[in-house]
C-alpha cells in the first residue's frame, strides 16, 4: 500500500506540474518574444475559468465551455495587448510590473462586478468522472490523468509549432533579433498580438481545466501566478523546455514535501507538532528550492538567452 501511495503522490505532483506548465508556457513565451513581464497572466487564467463555468452552466456542456475559455482568454489577451501591453514593450521592467499589477486590480474587480461575489459552479465532464485503478491497489481520478495528457499534448504542440511552422520561425526570430525580423517585412505588431493571445489562451485553458477541480472565484489566479513565476525562473526565462522541466520539478517537490515532511518530523516529535512544523516548512519548500537553483545557476536551468 505504501508504494501505491507513493506512486499516487508522484502522479499528483506530475499533474500539478503539468497544470503549472500551462500557465508558465504562456508566461515564458511572452517574456521570451516580447521581453514583457506580465503579472496579469493570472487574470487571464481566471477569465478562462469564468468563461468555461458560464458557458457550461448555460449549455450544459463542459466541452463548449472549454472552447469558450480558450476564445475568451485569447480575446481578452488580444484586447489587452492592443490597448495596454503594446505600449510597454520598450519600457523597463518596473513600468511593466506596475502596469500589469494595475491590470490585476481592474480584472479582479471587473469580474466581481459582472459575476457577483459568490463562487461559480463548474463540474468535470461525465466522460471523465470516476477513478481508474493503479497498480498496487490505489486509484487515480480519470480527470487528473486527462490533465496530464492535455499538458503533454500542449508541450508537444508548442514544440511542433515553434520548430516546424512559419509562425514558430517568426517567434524564434523575434526571440533572437527584433529589428531583423521587422526588416524582413514581418508585421511585428500582429506577431506580438498573436503570441500574446496564444499565451493568454493557454492560461485560459489552464483556468478552465483547473476550475472544474477547484473553485471558480475572483482572485483564483494569484497563487498560481506566483508559482508560475517560480517555475519559469527555475527553468530559465524564455525557454519552453525550461518551463516544462521547472513545472514538473516544482509540482513534484511541492507535493512530496507536503506529504513527506510531516512524516519525517513525526519520527522524532509528537504527531500534532510534526504536522504543524512539517506543513510550515513544506509551504516554504519551493521557494527554498528556487533560491538554491538561482544561487547555483543565476539564469535558471535552461536559459534562452544563453
Amino acid at each position: 500500500m505504501q508504494t501505491a501511495l507513493l506512486i499516487e503522490q508522484i502522479l499528483n505532483g506530475l499533474q500539478f506540474g503539468v497544470m503549472l506548465f500551462l500557465m508558465a508556457a504562456g508566461l515564458t513565451l511572452i517574456f521570451g518574444v516580447m521581453g514583457l513581464i506580465n503579472l496579469a497572466h493570472g487574470s487571464l487564467y481566471m477569465i478562462g475559468a469564468f468563461a468555461c463555468a458560464t458557458v457550461a452552466a448555460a449549455t450544459g456542456s463542459f466541452w463548449l465551455g472549454l472552447v469558450a475559455s480558450l476564445a475568451a482568454a485569447a480575446a481578452a489577451g488580444a484586447i489587452v495587448e492592443v490597448t495596454v501591453i503594446r505600449r510597454l514593450y520598450d519600457r523597463d521592467h518596473l513600468d511593466q510590473v506596475l502596469a500589469t499589477f494595475a491590470l490585476i486590480l481592474i480584472f479582479s474587480e471587473g469580474t466581481r462586478w459582472v459575476f457577483g461575489s459568490f463562487p461559480l459552479y463548474l463540474d468535470i465532464p461525465p466522460l471523465l468522472r470516476g477513478a481508474l485503478p493503479l497498480p498496487g491497489g490505489g486509484a487515480y481520478p480519470a480527470y487528473r490523468l486527462a490533465i496530464i495528457g492535455v499538458g503533454i499534448a500542449v508541450a508537444v504542440g508548442l514544440y511542433l509549432l515553434i520548430s516546424r511552422t512559419r509562425l514558430g520561425m517568426r517567434i524564434r526570430a523575434g526571440e533572437s533579433d527584433r529589428e531583423m525580423i521587422a526588416a524582413l517585412g514581418v508585421d511585428i505588431r500582429t506577431l506580438y498580438t498573436v503570441v500574446f493571445a496564444l499565451g493568454a489562451a493557454l492560461a485560459g485553458l489552464a483556468g478552465a481545466l483547473v476550475g472544474a477541480l477547484q473553485s471558480v472565484q475572483v482572485g483564483m489566479g494569484e497563487p498560481v501566478l506566483i508559482l508560475a513565476f517560480v517555475v519559469i525562473v527555475i527553468g530559465g526565462i524564455g525557454s519552453i523546455k525550461g518551463a516544462l522541466v521547472g513545472a514538473v520539478l516544482v509540482g513534484v517537490i511541492d507535493t512530496l514535501g507536503r506529504f513527506l515532511l510531516p512524516v519525517a518530523f513525526a519520527t522524532f516529535m509528537d504527531a500534532s507538532s510534526a504536522a504543524g512544523i512539517g506543513a510550515a516548512l513544506a509551504s516554504m519548500l519551493i521557494y527554498v528550492f528556487m533560491a538554491l537553483v538561482l544561487a547555483i545557476r543565476p539564469q535558471g536551468l535552461f536559459s534562452a538567452q544563453g
Binding site: H93, L98, A99, F101, L103, L105, A295, Q299
Partner: protein, 326 residues
C-alpha cells in the same frame, strides 16, 4: 547637485503640506487625519528605502515587504515580551523603548538584506525581481504557519511603545517622530546620492564593466545599497506596527511589495521626494475611493495604469518636469 528649481519648490511644498496636515486636523478636532498623515509619512519612509535601490541602483526588488514585515515583527515581538514580562532571547528582556526597537529592527533587516542580497544580486533583471519575491514569500509563509507569534492572526501591541521625552500615545507627537525619521532618511538619501558611493551605484546600473575597470566591485556596491535599503524599509515597518498597534503576515505579503513599488512610480522613480508624493497621493486615493465605492480597487487600477502609460515621471515629474540626471 541642484535639482531644477520647480522640483525644489515642489519638494518644499510637499514637506510643509505633510507637516501641516496634522496641525490643521488637530485644530479642527479631527484626530483621524493625524493618523492618516502618519500613515503617509511611514509609507513614504518605507518607499524611500526602496527608492534607494530601485531609483538609484535600478534594482527592482519585488520583495521589500520582507524587510517591512521583519521591522514590524521586531516591534511586535519586543513589545509583547515586555508586556508579558517574559525574557526574549538568551535571558534578554523584551522592550517597549522605540529606540532599542528601531536599532534592533535596522540591525536585523540589515543582516537579512545581506543574506538575501548575497544570493539575489548574483542575478539581474527579471530574475532579480522574482528571486526577491521568492525570499519574501518564504518569510511570509513562515510567519503564517509559525504559531509562536500569532501566525496569520498576527500580534497586537497593547500599548504603543515609548520614546524618551515624547508622549507617543498622542497622535500628533507620534506623527512628528515619524516625520522626523522620514526627513532624516531623505537627508541620508540625498547625501548618499551625491557621494562617491551614490555615483558608483548609479554607474553600476549603466555600465558594470567600466565600474569594475576603475577598481570598484559593482557587486559590493549593490550589496551595501541593498542592505541600506532594507534597513530603512525595516525601520518604517517598526513604525507601521506601532501606528496600527498590530503586526501581521499581511505586512509581508507580495501585495505589500507591490504597493511599495506603486508608491515610488506614482511619485516619480529616483526622485528624492518621489516616495513622499507617492505615499501622500496613494493613501489619499485609497481612503477616498474606499469611501466612495466598494469597487474602489477597480478605479485604483485604472488610475495606476494611467500613471504608468501617460505620466511617466509620476506626480513629481508631472509637476516639476523631467529629471535632470539620468
Amino acid at each position: 547637485m541642484m535639482g531644477n528649481p520647480r522640483e525644489t519648490i515642489l519638494n518644499l511644498a510637499l514637506v510643509l503640506l505633510l507637516a501641516a496636515i496634522p496641525l490643521v486636523a488637530t485644530g479642527m478636532g479631527e484626530p483621524f487625519y493625524v493618523t492618516l498623515a502618519t500613515r503617509m509619512a511611514i509609507l513614504a519612509l518605507a518607499a524611500v528605502g526602496l527608492n534607494f535601490l530601485l531609483g538609484l541602483g535600478g534594482l527592482v526588488s519585488f520583495g521589500h515587504a520582507a524587510f517591512f514585515g521583519i521591522g514590524g515583527y521586531v516591534a511586535g515581538i519586543a513589545a509583547t515580551h515586555a508586556f508579558n514580562a517574559e525574557p526574549l532571547l538568551f535571558g534578554l528582556p523584551g522592550t517597549n523603548q522605540m529606540i532599542v526597537i528601531w536599532l534592533a529592527a535596522v540591525l536585523l533587516c540589515g543582516l537579512a538584506a545581506l543574506a538575501i542580497g548575497v544570493i539575489s544580486l548574483r542575478t539581474s533583471g527579471v530574475y532579480f525581481i522574482m528571486i526577491t519575491l521568492a525570499f519574501a514569500q518564504m518569510i511570509y509563509y513562515f510567519a503564517i504557519s509559525w504559531p509562536a507569534y500569532g501566525g496569520e492572526d498576527g500580534l497586537s501591541i497593547y500599548v504603543r511603545n515609548g520614546f524618551p521625552g515624547v508622549n507617543t500615545l498622542n497622535g500628533l507627537h507620534f506623527f512628528y517622530l515619524c516625520f522626523g525619521l522620514l526627513l532624516a532618511a531623505l537627508a541620508v538619501f540625498s547625501v548618499l546620492r551625491n557621494s562617491r558611493f551614490g555615483a558608483a551605484l548609479e554607474a553600476s546600473r549603466q555600465n558594470q564593466q567600466r565600474l569594475a575597470a576603475v577598481g570598484i566591485a559593482p557587486f559590493r556596491v549593490k550589496l551595501v545599497a541593498f542592505a541600506i535599503s532594507g534597513m530603512i524599509t525595516g525601520l518604517a515597518g517598526a513604525l507601521f506596527a506601532d501606528l496600527n498597534r498590530f503586526v501581521s503576515p499581511s505586512m509581508l505579503s507580495w501585495h505589500m511589495s507591490g504597493e511599495l513599488i506603486v508608491l515610488i512610480i506614482l511619485g516619480g522613480t529616483g526622485r528624492l521626494f518621489g516616495p513622499v508624493a507617492g505615499a501622500m497621493v496613494y493613501v489619499l486615493f485609497e481612503f477616498y475611493l474606499g469611501g466612495v465605492t466598494e469597487r474602489w480597487q477597480f478605479f485604483l487600477g485604472l488610475i495606476l495604469l494611467g500613471v504608468v502609460l501617460f505620466a511617466r515621471g509620476g506626480v513629481v515629474g508631472l509637476i516639476a518636469g523631467k529629471a535632470r540626471h539620468g
